[in-house]
């Protein structure tokens, strides 16, 4: 593929990604004459909803309830461990289109939104915005942590054993971005050791998670198979709008929407 794209007769000038992530391209690059564009905010409502659903399922101990339902068991033993976002600190790492939508949703539930971003630019959607360098201090106060950052050298394994050691034992962790943001072995150890209250993952590292992996047996863990962006025909229609608008611009010789700089 690389050789083909570099051939003089190759006339490809634009690659439209209709995916939320672009880490493979960020890692491996693209020939310079080819413009790269992304999906904009097409996935934001679905992925944000999924992230909040995972957070709420963990805080409301719905895994325990599902297990008891399957067993025909009425037991309120888990009720002291139930929590809600209201009044707590929800840390959202990444405040792009998806992170912003998550912020809007959890704020509506009465949570204090603390954003952790690369730029640390203030945002009306967050009560506080901190730079990535303040990660450990921010995590120590968090009641819930939601990862919505691109995978990059500075974000790979941004949550590892050191960070789990700092977090509240009652905190929950949600990842709807890329699996390698979390040190998987450290997460498995933290869950098995009760270091945090639970985790919800739509992405894993590796992905798919192999059979027999320690994470499959971890307590208070919900794994969904990288489906956060799915929302039926509505999602397709949102992606189609991006593709159509950019193809119109391309044929008209206009600047493309949602450019990605690698």
């Amino acid at each position: 593929m690389a050789a083909a794209l570099a051939r003089p007769e190759c006339r490809i000038r634009w690659l439209q990604l209709l995916t939320a992530g672009y880490d493979a391209l960020a890692e491996f690059g693209l020939p310079e004459p080819i413009a790269l564009t992304g999906a904009g905010d097409a996935y934001a409502p679905a992925v944000a909803t999924h992230a909040v659903a995972l957070m709420l399922a963990l805080e409301r101990r719905l895994l325990d309830c599902a297990t008891m339902t399957a067993q025909g068991c009425w037991d309120r033993a888990m009720s002291p461990k139930m929590s809600i976002p209201f009044g707590g600190d929800v840390v959202i790492a990444g405040l792009g289109s998806i992170g912003s939508e998550i912020a809007r949703m959890v704020r509506a539930m009465g949570a204090r939104v603390v954003a952790l971003t690369r730029s640390a630019r203030p945002s009306p959607l967050a009560d506080a915005v901190e730079p990535l360098g303040r990660r450990d201090a921010v995590l120590a106060r968090a009641d819930a942590v939601i990862l919505a950052l691109p995978l990059a050298p500075e974000t790979r394994h941004m949550i590892g054993a050191e960070q789990f050691a700092l977090m509240k034992r009652t905190a929950v962790l949600v990842n709807i971005a890329r699996g390698a943001l979390i040190d998987t072995d450290a997460l498995a150890a933290a869950l098995h050791g009760g270091r945090i209250a639970g985790a919800g993952l739509d992405v894993t590292d590796p992905e798919p998670l192999p059979a027999g992996h320690a994470l499959w047996r971890a307590p208070n863990l919900i794994i969904t198979p990288h489906v956060a962006g799915s929302c039926g025909s509505l999602g397709g229609a949102r992606l189609a709008a991006v593709a159509v608008e950019n193809l119109r611009r391309f044929t008209a010789g206009q600047a493309l929407a949602h450019p990605i700089t690698l």
């Binding site: 051939r7 209709l18 491996f28 992606l239 189609a240 159509v244 044929t251």
Partner: protein
């Protein structure tokens, strides 16, 4: 693309239960005869809706290729290929010189 845009899409992998035709085609082809191709649209979700919307655009002609052979056979006549993600999971070297530098 002054004479209209020719878009090539394949039936989805979901429909066939196999790797989609364009995935296989991109793995198999050697890029010969693809000089007309200008655009890659990489979509893993919503390809049916995207294809319908593209097909409704004025001056856009949509071709649906049912299998790998059809994709390879039709590529030479198309400006745009809608393909799934594997097209960019190939390991492109960083800072690969483009056609202008070749």
């Amino acid at each position: 693309m002054t004479d209209g845009v020719n878009v090539l899409v394949t039936k989805s992998a979901k429909a066939t239960g196999t790797l989609s035709g364009s995935t296989q085609a991109l793995r198999a082809l050697n890029w010969d005869g693809m000089e007309k191709l200008r655009v890659l649209l990489c979509a893993s979700l919503g390809r049916a809706e995207i294809a319908r919307a593209l097909g409704d655009m004025p001056d856009v002609s949509l071709t649906v290729a049912p299998d790998t052979d059809a994709v390879i056979g039709a590529l030479a006549a198309h400006d745009v290929l809608m393909c799934p993600n594997p097209v960019y999971t190939h390991r492109w070297p960083r800072r690969l010189p483009g056609p202008s530098a070749a």
